[in-house]
Structures are given as C-alpha cells and as structure tokens.
C-alpha cells in the first residue's frame, strides 16, 4: 500500500491509498480522479494518463521504456518529469508519491 497524492491542474488534491501491484494510473481511475483518462486501460497505446512526477520521486518511479518515451514524445505539454502513469507500478517504496496532472490529456 502506498499513499499517493494526485493534484489536478486546478490544484484539487486527491490523497489515496493505492494497493501495491496496481499502477499509478489504476489508482486514479478506480477512484474516479478526474484528469487521467487512460483510454487504453494501461496498454501504453494512447498517452492519456500523462502525469508530472514530483522531482523527489523521479528516481524511485523507474526508467521509461522506449515505447513510453516514444508515446510521450508526441503528447501535449510534455516536461522532463512527464510519465505515463500506466507504466509506474505502485510499491511500498512509492509511499508518499506526488504526481500532478496536466490541463488536458487530449
């Protein structure tokens, strides 16, 4: 279990306990957090679960795969700390993780 804070673009915070093994995307979607669309359900096919990972957590969330890198390269409003949240697996090590959501996923 990890406590994850999702911050919407308008500043609204959602602090959720997310089960280890789920992805950061699933934690948001299953709790109906607006702003993460995840159209493909986690297949790394759509780039609509884009988040910004807070600086302190970038190392712990792991490396981007080539596929993720490539999808992100063509998403909107991408920053160096952008990730596809379907590609970040939740573990106890991510307890306290903070991610910010972009204005739009499309």
């Amino acid at each position: 279990m990890a406590k994850i804070t999702y911050i919407e673009h308008d500043g609204t915070e959602h602090v959720l306990d997310v089960k280890a093994g789920l992805t950061v995307m699933e934690g948001a979607v299953k709790n109906n957090v607006p702003g993460i669309d995840a159209d493909c359900g986690g297949a790394c096919a759509c780039a609509t679960c884009h988040v910004y990972v807070d600086a302190a957590w970038q190392d712990k969330t792991g490396e981007k795969s080539a596929m993720e890198e490539s999808m992100l390269d063509f998403a909107e409003n991408v920053e160096p700390n952008s990730r596809l949240s379907c590609q970040i697996k939740v573990s106890d090590a991510l307890d306290g993780l903070v991610v910010r959501l972009p204005e739009s996923q499309h």
Binding site: K30, N31, A43, A45, M67, M71, D73, F74, H106
Partner: protein, 409 residues
C-alpha cells in the same frame, strides 16, 4: 428540470455504460443513476480478455473499471443480471427482464453488440465459443493448453489475438478465414500479409478462402469444423469471431431511428431528446469523414460516454475526435488511427521486414488513416494529421530519415 432530481437510467454496463455513470458523477451530476447490466459483474475492460487476461497476465480485479463499492459510494444503483425488455417512451418507462420498471428522465442505451452466430449444422455443439464477455473468456481459457487444438473461425482482430494467446499457452491454433486474406474487412493487404507471416512464425496455421459449412461432434461436443471443400479440421474447441451485430431491438421496437445501429447526433442523442445511445450500438456521425457509421472500439465507447454525460450535465460537447484503436499480438503493437474511407493511395513508411512500419491511407494529400506497427510516432502524428485535415508532403512521409515531427511541421 434541475439535474439534482433527474433520474438517469443506463441500460448496459459495458465500457460505455460504466464510463457514462462515472463521468456523470465526475461532471457533478447529483441525481440518482441506475446502471443495468446483463452480466453478473460490474463494468470491466474487454480488450484484455483476448490478450493479457487470456495469457494469465491480468486478474479480474485489474479488469474492473471501478471497484464494486464505487457504485454504492457514488449513489449509482448497479443492477446486475438484468436487461431491458421494453421501452415505453411516452411514459418514460423502461421494463427490465425481472418485470421491474424504471421511470427515467434521461435514458442512455449502451446495449452493445453481440457476436454473430454461424447458421450452420452443428452450431449448437458444446465447445463452440465466442469472445465478448468475461464468462466467454473463462470458457475459452479452459479449453487452451498444451496438446489442445483451437480452431478459430474468422481471421479478424479477435481471432488473431486469440490465436496469439493460444500459442503462448501452448495450444495449437488454426485460423479459418472465408476471404483470401486475413483482416480483409479492416486492413490493407500489406498488413494482412505481415500478420499472417508473424503468426505462421509462431506456429499458427491458416486456411484462407475456407468456407465453414458445419461442425462435427461426438457426445454433443465439437470435434471438427467442416469446410465447403469437403475437409474437416479437427479441434477440441472452436472460437467463432465473424463480427458483431448491434443490440438495437429495444430501440427499434420503441420507434427510435435506427440504421446500422441506433442513430444519434454529435451529442449521442437519439431521435428522442431524452434518450442517448452510446458505444457499439450507436450509428453516429463522424464529421472528419462526412458520414455516419457504427464503431466497435473502446475509444469510441469512451468518447460517446463523454458526449452523453456532457449533454446531460449541460457541459459543452467534447471536441471532435479522431477515432483510433489498438491490438497487441506477440511483441507487436498495432495502433490504428482513422478509417481508410475514400482513400485513393496507400503509402508505406518503413520496411515490414523490420517489424516496425506504418501504412498511411491518403485521399489526395490528406491522411485518412494510419496503421502503425511498433511505431508510436507515426501513430501519434498520423492521428493529429487526420484530425487537422492538413495536407501532407508525401515524399517526406515516405522517407523514414525525415522524422514524423518534420513531416507534420
């Protein structure tokens, strides 16, 4: 009517219906929502049923769109194991299969589509399977394993994904396709040839131009598929994946406009302003192609759920979308944007032999659709080009040394 006392009834708890319920709450709708589903479980993702789930890489919990408690917590009355049998529009009453009636202010029909059955001898044998629901997938999985042989009738995406999963579980797979190539209705010849080669390399057998005339059985269980040329293909189970038909009967009976599905406008509204139709069952306008058609895809279900939820809550309609879909087979990720309507040219970017290429379908110098294999840039930029209706430089598009960003610049 204020939205706080309106009652939204959603018939069909698939990807479209489940998403519409959740979005209504996200958009601040405060009235009661009743979500009626034919299956025993709350809405879940269907695409993994032929892929990750079938291979044992995803469990039932991970497929659920929302956990079961989500519905009660959000005042969504989820009613499983039920379907709508009658719609009385003048009274705004829908009757369910258990005899209960629901009075609605807004009705969302998300009844989906059903697998087409083959009207041939032996079609009632056990071991003849289809793949639309979690229960179907359970039944299919139970037949797969080393030493087992699965016959797959229909060389479309469902059939090919099932073939790939069957092989990874050690079962034999033979695909029987009526047309002379795979994916004949949905993809171009280059892609058909490519997929056939990849599947053959993984040990899948193909019988093309093979017309199924019946099924043979022993003790009520299928043992083989009979072809028009007289041969019988032995099997332990047969998966039928020959397309789907919309569940639009209730709408037709109630006098709603229907074509190849329930006719809706850009807000997903039917010919009755209180009734919406979304997902596989809807026959919907797609302005970038200047026509109406019916789509069977998750992105389509999500888009229309957004349209209906926006209309009901008085939000502006979502911006027009470019339809897309995907398929995973072995290590191949296929991403398709758009449809090849009216295309007059096929342009290949990259070399299929490398397993990384994209096929662009052009109408003049406009991109109508792109089929991208392991090529996210081509998919992502192609999708933008389709939506923007902006002419493209074909020489650059065909040249892989020119990046997709430069092509679109």
């Amino acid at each position: 009517m204020s939205s706080s006392d309106a009652h939204v009834v959603i018939i069909g708890a698939g990807h479209a219906g489940g998403t519409a319920a959740a979005l209504l709450r996200q958009y601040g709708f405060a009235g009661p929502i009743t979500l009626v589903g034919e299956e025993p479980i709350p809405p879940y993702q269907r695409p993994p049923l032929s892929k990750a789930w079938l291979k044992g890489e995803a469990d039932a919990d991970s497929l659920a769109l929302k956990p079961l408690e989500f519905y009660a917590e959000n005042n969504i009355d989820f009613r499983p194991n039920l379907k709508a049998v009658k719609l009385a529009r003048s009274d705004k009453i829908v009757t369910l299969s258990d005899g209960a009636t629901l009075t609605y202010d807004f009705l969302i029909l998300a009844t989906g589509a059903r697998a087409i059955k083959l009207p041939v001898e032996g079609a009632d044998l056990k071991g003849l399977l289809e793949l639309r629901t979690a229960a179907d997938a359970e039944a299919l999985k139970a037949t797969l394993g080393p030493g087992k042989r699965l016959a797959i009738v229909g060389g479309g995406y469902i059939g090919l994904e099932a073939a790939a999963s069957a092989r990874s579980l050690g079962a034999e797979a033979v695909v029987l396709e009526r047309e002379t190539r795979l994916l004949a209705r949905v993809a171009c010849e280059t892609l058909s040839t490519f997929f056939q080669g990849r599947h053959e390399a993984h040990g899948v057998r193909f019988e093309l131009g093979a017309s199924v005339v019946g099924f043979e059985g022993r003790d009520g269980h299928v043992t083989g598929v009979k072809l028009a040329d007289g041969r019988t293909i032995a099997c332990d189970a047969a998966l039928i994946g020959v397309g789907a038909a919309p569940n639009d009967e209730i709408a037709k009976d109630a006098g709603l406009d229907c074509a190849r599905g329930i006719v809706v406008d850009l807000e997903a509204r039917t010919s009755d302003p209180s009734i919406f139709a979304i997902g596989d069952v809807a026959h919907r306008p797609m302005p970038i192609y200047d026509r109406m058609f019916r789509m069977e895809s998750v992105p389509n279900a999500l888009e229309q759920a957004k349209q209906a939820a926006s209309a009901i809550t008085g939000r502006p309609a979502p911006a027009g979308e470019t339809p897309w879909q995907w398929s995973d087979q072995y290590d191949l990720k296929l991403q398709i944007a758009g449809y090849a309507f009216d295309a007059d040219e096929i342009l290949l970017r990259g070399d299929p032999a490398t397993g990384k290429f994209a096929i662009f379908h052009l109408k003049g110098d406009l991109v109508q659709s792109v089929e991208a294999i392991n090529s996210p840039p081509e998919f992502m930029m192609g999708r933008q080009l389709i939506g923007a209706r902006r002419p493209v430089n074909k020489a650059k598009l065909a040249d892989t040394t020119v990046s997709m960003k430069e092509v679109a610049a």
